[in-house]
Amino acid sequence: MKKTKYLFLLILFCCSQLWAQQTTIMGVVLDQQGLPLLGATLTEKGTNKGATTDFDGRFSLQVSDPKALVVISFIGFDTKEINANDPGISQITLQESINALNEVVVTALGITREEKSLGYAVGKVDEDELTKTVSGNWLNSMSGKVAGLTLDNAGSGPTGSLRVVLRGEQSLNYGSNEALFVIDGVPVTSGTTATRGNSNYAQADAPVDFGNAASEINPEDIESVSVLKGPAASALYGSRAGNGAIIITTKSGKKGKGLGITLNSTITFEKAGYFPDFQKQYGNGSDQGLTPYSFWELSEDMAPDGVAVNRHYSRYTFGEEFDSQKMRYLYASKNWETGEFQKLPWEYQDDWYTGLFKTGVTARNSVTISGGNGKGTSTRFSVTDVKNDWILPNTGYRQKNLALSFNTEINDYISLTTKVNYLRKESNNIPVSGYDETSVMYDLAWGYNVNGIDDWKNEYNDGRFNFENYTAQGADGKSLVFPSSNSYNPYRVLYEEVNALERDRVFGSIGLNFKLYKGLTLDLRSGLDWSNEFRTQKKPFYTTGRPRGMYREQTIRRYEFNNEFLLRYENNTWADGKFGLSTVLGGNNRYSQYFRDQLSLYELGDEGIYHTENLPQGVFPNPYNYRSKKEVNSLYGLVSLSWDDTYFVDVTARNDWSSTLSPKNRSFFYPSVATSILLDRVLNLKESASWIDLLKLRFSWANVGNDTSPYSLDQYYGNTSFPGGYVLPGTIPDPLIKPENVEAWETGLEGHFFKNRISFDLALYYSSTTDQIVSVDTDQITGATGLKINAGEIVNKGIEVSGSFVPIRSNDFNWSFDLNWSRNYNELVSLQDGWDPNEPLQTDMGTTIGGRVYVNSYIGEEMHVIYGRGLQKAPEGSTFLDENGNQVDASGMDLVDSDGYPILDQNPERRIGKVNPDWRAGMTQNIRYKNLSLSATFTGQYGGNTFSVTNFALSYQGKLKNSLPGRYDGLVHEGVNAIQNPDGTTSYTKNKTVTSDIQTYYNSYIWNRNNTESNTFDTSFIKLREVRLGYSFPKQIMEKAGFIQNAEIAVFGSNLWMWTKFPQYDPEGGMLNGDAIHRGIEAMTFPFTRSYGLNVKLSL
């Protein structure tokens, strides 16, 4: 082992300069409980020599003078100073901070600040919270941990994207509401990357979710995540961070001398859960069981009993009651080898829907080598391999990450920081989700509860899905399981309608730090994010919308290069150290390019061959190419002032020059101010109320500008498939468009009490986005569907509360928990001049479920409200007489027609419910007993509504328990009948009519997709998001094991439990529309999954 260590050292540090011999001190840093502290920093005071402790808490520090003062610090602990020659240096015990005065946090531009000095809220998520339970997307672990952070998903598969929104949607451009991701100071692209601009509903060419780039970072490499929620926090990042920013700092090598190797293996098992509530009493059929089911039409010769039968089947399950004594011809009745048929028992098949799903397995293995020479040179290298087999056959992905961090001090004045990441993601198949035959969820929903899943499996595996059976439509004893012109088979979909991906991505930065003068430093940094992606999509013959198959190739290249400088000056020596000054002057040049080449073949020449030449005669491939460039230059500055560690003021200013705006408007300036006051010091509470550790009041105001996308100033023709043929554009731009403007206020109060056992943070904010660069609707009769102009205003108001509590803190036993709660109110204040306020602004979600679900916003009201049809109600003030002749109020009761059916609205104008929840909350519990730790995270929200496609699809076919009441004797719908009186008035009687046909009742009225109201559900929920039980092996055992320094083992689970009124899968699930994820409509997501995992971490 030793030899290897030296070898590594040799390789890694051969180029670094060796320094003259100095005194070396060695020792260990422990906490009060005697547990080693990993990552504590030791520095020789007055120099930049430093070291950090390893997993054992051990360090080795070279000091220039044996009497030098060594400063030992660690986040959350009181800083200690000891002389190097003090014998106590070999075992240093740090006291846990009783106040949060020393908490530091990474803010904009990577500047580390003490939290107390900040005038705005910053959310923090530590590394271990992210790596605890990772199965798919690490961003999931952020859920419930930061007040004001929203994650939207579309339940769209193994690489399913998440949309991160902070403090509500601010822009009328739905796509520009996501937070900015910054990794080690370099902004990266985070957006979802789907294949097409279609929605998940009834689109044979529905988008495939290839995942968002931000989620591809290896969570093991993350050191900390800061969430800059408001514009004040993110003002220095400029226009892109108007929606807040997520600042990710990755790990560096350890500063101390030595070499550490960490092995981390996680295996996660994922299972589809929370299945719909299937009814198991009635089988397929659509005539209430009057005619016996027969999948086959058999002549006398074909039938084993010589009795000819007619074909009688349906995918609806309003058929006969199950009874294993009844014998029926099912799909499985045919012996395909002999061609003979036999009757089978009429039984519910348990696996008809659920059988398709298997246990998904994600194996994540990483090796990290970290080392330093103790003289300012350090490095960290990690290799990670993730292999995902998802819950559906033939789906999943593989990802490899390499991360290298190298820091060195070139001399006393110059140091170098390098971070390089490479990742490769490959997938043979990312499944299509949504409500369409090309999605297996649709196939399942429309399947038969009398056919086992094997019927489909065998049909595909035995090659029965062929032209002969496809066209026979049941004739001559030939058929597919689902005989239709839009035939499908989930196994065929999964194995042949495949969407493959290969993505290579490199991102990282190189930075130089110059120490120019006392307190004056200069940072120069260049950062790159480059990715190249190749995707293919295949559809075989006889698929929906593509009877002759389809093949598509896409190449997407992204490039972004940032050059940056930062000049900093700090001086805390004035006025006896009472006055603190810190100033920053910086500049950035950003250049980005996007490139997309696409070739689609909407018909194939030969079946089963997928390349761009395989076309039938007279058909040409369909190309689509797009490229764009953008450059933004920026200059910015920050001045931070403090007085007596009590009063803090930050002032920032930034000016951007954007290539996307006209020369007149391309330069724009915006400032921010933030202050914080430590009330405990101002009021001298230390004496009068010593239980108060810290009480901080903060206030900030910020203004952030935002530019637009490339080529937004001129009018360009649309290309057509006709050679040299053009059409006019839909949107007319305004060449003098101005940058948009976000203005935000925030105030907050933060307190820490009883030696930090109770802390809270309260934030109130208000932000208003004006001059939005939007394509405002115009009537096409004017010559365009939209005008790109500055218009409209959205206001977000909100409150965020978080608290943390430590009820028990002792050597062996620790119990702490965090809570957070947030509420955002999002209002459409105005639209373009002259917009009729009685008309709604429709949120373009790519679909209205065929004119059935509208998400609208009205001026002056909260945004995003679902409108549609519901059951007609008796008007206010209507009454009926009950049996006893008493007048009973009938207002709001359902109207029922003479056949006993309720009556649907004609027009989709009923207000059903708002999409956004009233509030969201999260709670994390941590319990530690000796070496055993248990943590659990709960998340929840209250209010909000979503229309569920899964619900109507399964329910109106009679597949769920919600269509059992009244089979087949009918039922009496609770409501009133309206009677038109000759004098023009209407009177009401209580409905007593039994529905004439229970199938019609459910299928056409109650669960039909036209009934927006009944298929829209409250999305309130409580989820047990994560649970983790960990054990770290005691030192003594480790010492016996020899080379292993530290070992930790943990079991974890996610989404183990959920309470919700939302009936189908995930109440947080939404819908994919092109590259955007929308809430408000659930367009048949994949099942919500539970996962269980095991994690082993070894340090050598």
Binding site: S485, R546, K629, P710, Y711, L728, Q780, I781, G783
Partner: protein, 522 residues
């Protein structure tokens, strides 16, 4: 501190670079397409013609056939236009489609004037009227005089012209186009013209035939003096040439080779018709003679347009069975059983043609005009025109019989037999105008929205509204409503138009030229 000086130099350099914007113009130059105005008029022609025809085909299939009961989507519940389940998204897309194409014709016109391309100048006017007439016929009053001005920085709130004013302007436009056609301009790139191959005399005939179509549309309004204009056209064939035979038809020819492929070229039979859209009882009733429950005779066009359900189980007697438009949802699957459907083999071929207007329609117009005395000639002339009209229509379809499944051949004798049959006989018909109306309805099959427009003008044929057509209170839509965007962005002008039309923004307010509006004195 030398190093400080160096650093200061570097920072000043950086500051300069950061504030440098000299290459921004180049960066913001779009490499993907062409800037508006930098093309010739002819570059707009092909997309207008073919994509325009695509819309015609799509709308005839999706809207016209369902509204007017040629077909009904009873094979499922996803589409319910036959029950008048029509929403704002639909109003929006139809409004936008016609407006967009009209807008492109206006732009083509402007470019043609700039290029001094007289042929495209005239053609763009003809095409503009083709698109705009459909817009006004679907919605009633629409902006015309102030429409499409936004490109030149004009109004975002164009005033709505009354439908009468719209028609007057369309007539003026056609007149002015005809004047250009009379100059015999030359189509510079005839190979672009998938309809007439650059034959300008045929474009002129189309222009004037379209004129006749629109004159007939407003013939119920005496103030439009339709008779005198029609007489002028009929009497001056040199000045106003119109369609003389099926060879003149405004038919867009698709070669079957990309991109010149029929809108339905890549649609399978199921999506096109068999799993949803079925022929209706109404259509079968008008094309099949039944005696003693036996189908004894049928319109020779029926087997080209439609296809019997081949299932021996659901259609054991191999009959023409029609479904019921507007059926109650609970009876949907019963009436759908064994029904016939559209003949995808010929209608959805890659090389299947798209029809804007036929010679038959011109003859039907003349038949009706003579029968009604709008032009001289009397009933005997009317019969002659009627015979020509029906013959032309059957002829047109007969040419497509070779592609249908199964193949159909129609002889001259078959046409004579048909003209003598109960279905089409002039002499047996008691109400000649009803006969003309009904046969015209059949002849307008697959020609855009014409059958729907004509039904609202004439009331023929008499349609039965299904007892499940509850989404518009059992009223066949009299128009499409103005979309939300129109109401939201130009509400005051739209409201004014609705007041003028005497109704609300619903599908129950009649348009000005319609029979209902005239009868109600609106």
């Amino acid at each position: 501190m030398k190093i400080i000086n160096k650093i200061i130099t570097v920072v000043i350099l950086l500051l300069t670079i950061m504030a440098c914007t000299s290459n921004f113009e180049e960066i913001n130059t779009n490499p993907n397409t062409t800037t508006v105005g930098e093309i010739k008029a002819s570059s707009l022609f092909e997309p207008l013609l073919y994509n325009g025809a695509d819309y015609w085909l799509n709308y005839t299939w999706f809207w016209n056939d369902e509204l007017i009961q040629f077909t009904a989507f009873t094979g499922g519940t996803t589409r319910q236009e036959h029950r008048y389940f029509i929403s704002d998204g639909n109003w929006q897309s139809v409004w936008n489609a016609y407006s967009r194409y009209a807008n492109n014709t206006v732009h083509m016109h402007d470019l043609a004037v700039k290029d001094d391309d007289r042929s495209l100048e005239a053609i763009s006017r003809t095409l503009k009227v083709l698109f705009m007439s459909n817009l006004t016929d679907m919605y009633g009053d629409v902006p015309y005089s102030e429409a499409f001005k936004i490109l030149e920085g004009g109004g975002r709130k164009p005033k709505f012209d009354s439908q009468r004013e719209v028609y007057a302007q369309m007539f003026a436009e056609l007149d002015s186009a005809n004047v250009i056609y009379l100059e015999q301009p030359v189509f510079v790139k005839p190979e672009l013209d998938g309809m007439y191959n650059g034959a300008m005399e045929k474009w002129q005939k189309f222009n004037n035939s379209l004129y006749m179509r629109l004159l007939m549309r407003v013939s119920g309004r005496s103030e439009m003096n339709v008779g005198s204009k029609l007489t002028e056209i009929v009497n001056n064939p040199k000045v106003f040439p119109v369609f003389n035979s099926n060879d003149d038809n405004a038919t867009v020819v698709y070669t079957g080779t990309d991109p010149y492929r029929n809108y339905f070229a890549n649609t399978n039979e199921g999506d096109f018709t068999s799993s949803g859209r079925k022929l209706t009882e109404q259509l079968i009733k008008m094309t099949v003679v039944t005696e003693d429950e036996k189908q004894v005779y049928q319109d020779p066009r029926l087997a080209i347009i439609g296809k019997k359900n081949p299932s021996a189980q659901t259609n054991p007697e191999n009959k023409w069975i029609g479904t019921v438009a507007g059926v109650k949802e609970e009876n949907r699957s019963d009436v759908d059983r064994g029904t016939s459907w559209l003949n995808a083999a010929d209608l959805a071929r890659p090389a299947a043609p798209g029809f804007f207007m036929d010679y038959a329609e011109v003859q039907f117009i003349l038949a009706e005009a003579t029968q009604r005395g709008l032009i001289p000639g009397g009933t005997s002339q009317a019969k002659e025109h009627y015979t020509k009209a029906v013959t032309a229509s059957v002829d047109k379809w007969a040419q497509l019989g070779q592609y249908s499944d199964p193949q159909v051949t129609v002889s001259e004798g078959d046409i004579t037999t048909f003209l003598a049959s109960d279905l089409a006989s002039w002499d047996k018909a008691s109400d000649k105008l009803q006969l003309i109306g009904s046969q015209k309805y059949l002849a307008l099959f697959w020609i855009g929205m014409e059958a729907y427009h004509e039904y609202r003008r004439t009331g023929y044929p008499e349609l039965t509204i299904g007892d499940g057509a509850n989404f518009n209170d059992f009223i066949l839509p009299t128009r499409f409503a103005y979309p939300n965007t129109t109401m939201a962005t130009n509400g005051i002008n739209a409201q004014e138009a609705l007041i003028r039309m005497g109704g609300e923004n619903t599908m129950k307010t009649p348009v000005w030229w319609s029979k209902q509006a005239i009868e109600e004195g609106k």
